[in-house]
Structures are given as structure tokens and as C-alpha cells.
Amino acid sequence: MDNTQKLAFKESLKKMWKSDAFKAIAVLCIIALMSALILSVVHRYTIVDEEAVLREKVGEVYPSSPVTTSVDVSSYRNIDNSVILNAFVAEDGAYIILSKSKKAYNSGTGITLIVVIKEGIILCVQNYLSSETPGLGTRALKESYLSQYVGVEANALAVRDQVEIRDPNEQTVKIEYIGGATKSSTGVRISVTAAATFYIREAAK
């Protein structure tokens, strides 16, 4: 590269530096880098170990026996409008199932419940994650409402095959719905039904 070529190259660099487009790109890149730096620092201190949080919550819900094994739910065929997110087996054989209903008033978040089933009987139902309307949909997530499922046989709630849940009266268990919070009540029912179905299928293995 001779001197004239070097000069021309320097000139073109100077021109580029002064051009609006280059300046705009450079400023945006600097801001993006700054953002990445801030976010990486914040992420370092706010990272959530979801597995640990879940295990802690499961321990609170079912303190009588420590959770030993985690059940693989990745290959499980979910029933309609529901997802089994996670399942654990406690030392005494109780299943602690994290079941999500896609049907809810706020269908974006859905209704995720922790359902404990032991020897075919539902022992406990608790709200894990939901964003139903406060004072309205949340009534279906209160312990007083959820307790109607306690003591119910999983077998009576479970869905056979891949049948969609239609009329709740078709099933043998009578479940109360809350007026004004029908969608939330339906979400709770779907979630508990999904957990019961999962338990029955696991128990049959």
C-alpha cells in the first residue's frame, strides 16, 4: 500500500466517522452495550433458581415427608387445557403434582396448583401461581374453596383416555362453582383433574 492509498484510506475513514449514519449506528451500539452490561450485572444478582424455589414450596405444602424423587413429566401426554409442569414423590409414597390449567380468567398465566395425592386420595390442594382478578377470581383460589377437593378420590376425578372435560355433572364428584368466578373455578377444576389423571396413570405403571 503506497502513501496515496494510505491517505485515501484515512480520508475515507474520516468521512465515515463524520457521516450521520455511522454516528447513529455507533451511538446505538454503545447504548446497546451499556444496556447489556447493566442487565448482566442485575441478572447476576436476581437469578431465580426455580427448582429450589419449587422444592421449598413443595416442602411447605407437604412437610410430613421429605421429597425424594422427581418424576419425569416430559413424555407425559397432557389432557386437554392442562399441563403437568412437575411432579415429585415423597418418601411415604405421596405424589406432589404441579398442575397448570390453561383455562382461567387470565389465560396468559393460567392457574397452577400443587396437588398432593396419597394412596389415591387428594390430601391437599394449594395455589402456586396465578393472576386471577383480586377479590373476584381469587375467591376460587382460597383455601376454603380449594378444600372441597381434599378427601376426594383421584379415581373419581380422573379423565379416562383423552376425553375433554365437558359438563362437570357428568362426573361422579359434585364440585361447587363460584358465581362470578366461573372461569377461575373451571380452571381450578381442570388443574385438579389433570393432577388426578396424572396420578392414576403413574400408579397404573
Binding site: 447504548i31 393472576s131 383480586p134 362470578g180
Partner: protein, 213 residues
């Protein structure tokens, strides 16, 4: 001179509450105002999250106002605002997961909250960092106060509760329409009327007082 400087810093803060009140005067940020004001706790959390984003983005935009080329100022603002919204989102997820789940999508949507864009474009872009931060704080707290008021009214009438605590006797007669979207519009409209009537009455009285002097 000192007084003028002090005024330049304090005035934007005070204006945020009444003169530039984003909810009742400028009618900005209506989407979260209507959507998340179902409970007082939701309202206050949303307001404080927005205040934090407003303050930080105003500060950064004010610091970079001479560097950011005007042609790319909007993408630059969005980048800056999105950064702070993500910070709020991650922090809330870590420390208040239940409220984070309740507010859901409305936290990331702070990015497109027109209050923040409006303050960035009309104030932070033309002013020094300290007044910009005070403007962000004032407008943010004005927004927080407004949506908390709306939330309290909606929760009280719609669920018979106050900050999540059920009021005995009242919850049985709660009018659930106030928790529903229709109730949000009703309460919002009614409060705009009340706020503006009160401000007008106050200004009228002040003008009369000034004339008498």
C-alpha cells in the same frame, strides 16, 4: 440566583402531581391505569415500577441528549427504557414473585408506556440531568398516586377490601362490576372529573385571592 436554581429543580417535581399529572390531566398511560387497578397493591406496585423506570431513563437520556443523533433518538430512547424495564422485571421476579405474576404482561409493557416516552421527548431531551430526574420522580409519583387512588376505589367497591384486607360486612355487598373493565372506565372517568373540578376550583380561588391583594 440560588432560588432560581432551586426552583428549576423543584418545579418539575411539583408539576408532576397536579399540572402534569399523567393520569388525570394528560390522560397518558391509560392501558395500565385501566388494566392493573383491580387492587390497591397492584396499583402501587405498578406506579412505583413506572417511577423507577421514569427516573432512570430520564437521567440517562438527559446525560446522552447531546450525543444521541436526533434521527435515531426514538430507537435510542426505547433501548434505554427497555433496559430499565427489564431491570424492574428481573428484580420483581426475584423478590416479589406473586405480584410479578399478578401484574404479568403489564410490567414488560412499561416499555411502551407513553408517559415515559412523552417525558423523555419533551423534558429529558431538553433539560439538565437533575431537573430531569426530578421530573421523572414527580410525574412517576403523580402516576403512582393516581392509579393507587383508582385502585383503592375499585377494590373497595368491587371486592369490599382495602389493600387486600377484607372489610367485614362490606365484602358481601361488593359490586363486582367495579373490578371488571367497565368499572375501570367508570371510576377513571369519575375521578378525572373530580380531580379537574378540584384543580379548577383551587386555581379560581387562588386567582381571586391574588386580585384581592
Amino acid at each position: 440566583m440560588k432560588n432560581e436554581k432551586f426552583r428549576a429543580v423543584i418545579e418539575p417535581f411539583a408539576n408532576g402531581f397536579v399540572k402534569n399529572n399523567p393520569t388525570f390531566r394528560l390522560v397518558l398511560g391509560t392501558c395500565p391505569t385501566l388494566a392493573v387497578t383491580t387492587s390497591a397493591m397492584n396499583g402501587i406496585t405498578m406506579g412505583l415500577a413506572t417511577t423507577f423506570v421514569l427516573m432512570c431513563s430520564n437521567l440517562l437520556i438527559s446525560l446522552l441528549r447531546n450525543i444521541i443523533p436526533s434521527k435515531v433518538r426514538i430507537p435510542a430512547y426505547i433501548l434505554i427504557i427497555a433496559t430499565f424495564v427489564t431491570v424492574v422485571d428481573m428484580t420483581m421476579k426475584k423478590f416479589i414473585p406473586d405480584l410479578h405474576a399478578t401484574l404479568g404482561l403489564y410490567i414488560p409493557l412499561i416499555v411502551v408506556n407513553c408517559i415515559i416516552m412523552a417525558r423523555a421527548e419533551s423534558f429529558a431531551n431538553q433539560n439538565m440531568p437533575l431537573p430531569s430526574v426530578m421530573d421523572g420522580l414527580g410525574v412517576g409519583l403523580g402516576f403512582t398516586l393516581s392509579i393507587t387512588l383508582i385502585s383503592i376505589v375499585r377494590e373497595f367497591l368491587g371486592a369490599g377490601a382495602f389493600f387486600g384486607m377484607t372489610i367485614p360486612g362490606l365484602s358481601d355487598f361488593a359490586m363486582s362490576i367495579f373490578i371488571m373493565p367497565a368499572g375501570a372506565f367508570l371510576v377513571f372517568g369519575f375521578m378525572i372529573v373530580c380531580f379537574n373540578a378540584a384543580v379548577k376550583a383551587f386555581e379560581k380561588r387562588r386567582a381571586q385571592g391574588g386580585q384581592a391583594k
